[in-house]
Subunit: 130 residues, 4 copies
């Protein structure tokens, strides 16, 4: 369900954050669901527990998951994006970078728009819809 690329230059803990966010967004993990324990996941992915820990803490900081004392970690039931103009401006910048890159790879506007459309569709297939 979750894949880590040990060879990638992006830190493992960030990959993991990313993957979990995606899994939740797609509805594979729903609000209230239990995530695997730190130890469990570390064994499964053959990475160090501390690394998993770091990812979980980052996700908790973002209010996407929450820890229930001694019971484990769960997908937040009440995640609410809050206005964050700074993050929004960062997002815009990241998007700009990607679009510039796309141009240099020879994609025209049409192809880019199509790729966006496709990805958005992919990401919004909820489990419940199946």
């Amino acid at each position: 369900m979750i894949r880590i690329d040990q060879r990638s230059s992006t830190p493992i803990y960030q990959q993991l954050v990313q993957e979990i966010k995606e899994v939740i967004l797609r509805g594979v993990l729903q609000p209230g669901d239990k995530l695997p324990s730190v130890r469990e996941l570390s064994v499964q992915l053959t990475i160090n527990p501390n690394t998993v820990q770091k990812s979980y803490q980052e996700l908790e900081r973002q209010k996407i998951i929450e820890n229930l004392r001694g019971k484990g970690t769960y997908v937040s039931t009440h995640y609410k994006p809050r206005e964050d103009t700074e993050k929004l401006s960062v997002l815009r910048d990241d998007l700009r970078k990607v679009l510039i890159e796309a141009h240099y790879l020879g994609l025209d506007e049409e192809k880019i728009t199509e790729m966006v459309r496709q990805l958005l569709e992919e990401l919004t297939i909820r489990e419940g819809d199946r």
Copy 2:
């Protein structure tokens, strides 16, 4: 014309690569135009010459600029994007990341699409069009 954020977590040399690519894309620098010398630019941006050097090397590797020995560095006159399925897949992944992030910031598909549209427009205003 070019701005570097010393506090950003993305390496300065990568920021610079990014900025130069954007400047070229927007037509501020056109094929055949001369880029500032490493020393010049390093002074102007108050960053280490080695850092500028590294950026120029990266851009040269990508065939976006070229160095004429003793004469300086110029925007390539013959840049041609080539099919690169690996880079394309990386791009797709980066785009996916941004879109996931957008969702968690509370943007719906409409707002995302609009943002893409806006950025694409911004990026394709060529100097020549003015």
Copy 3:
């Protein structure tokens, strides 16, 4: 009357100690009053009986409540704060932490003082006064 936040990072048993202290301070529970049994309270708050037990023990250690064997747990009738320079110095430290935090949240001295005043007022409304 008593609220526990399972998601909070402060241990449940400490939250409970805190809450009971507050309830007594406000006079909702008066000296001599009976506290709910461990079992009762654990059911009511849907927490582990061991956790309630731990809280009661802590409160007993602080002489704030007392256990009459077989009869239940009662608010002490003879609580007397005793000079405890160590605890006082801990308190001072905790207060300092809060005040530093307040500054970093942008509160000026006036606002801080006002907040203290308000809270003190809130806390000293006794049931008997109603």
Copy 4:
């Protein structure tokens, strides 16, 4: 300048965060000043570099300090507290806890208010004022 209590139950990294915040608030370290490097401070305090690192990262997250790529860590020059109702409510709660504790230590309102006044005074002595 900074003291860590290895025996304390509060994590070292949190103590360090706290201490640095206080040092900055008192003006011993001013905006733009360089903090000791991770390694340096870890040697000085005889704690693990990772622990210092964790503190620095937490402070950076709070925008109180910032990292200048390869040059070291500096006190932010443009810290601006931003409206954060959630943090404010946590602060209020913490303050309430302290005040309750104070009552149980036998302090009356007058003494509490006086202690607050004293601490506020202590904390707002800036280096520049000396």
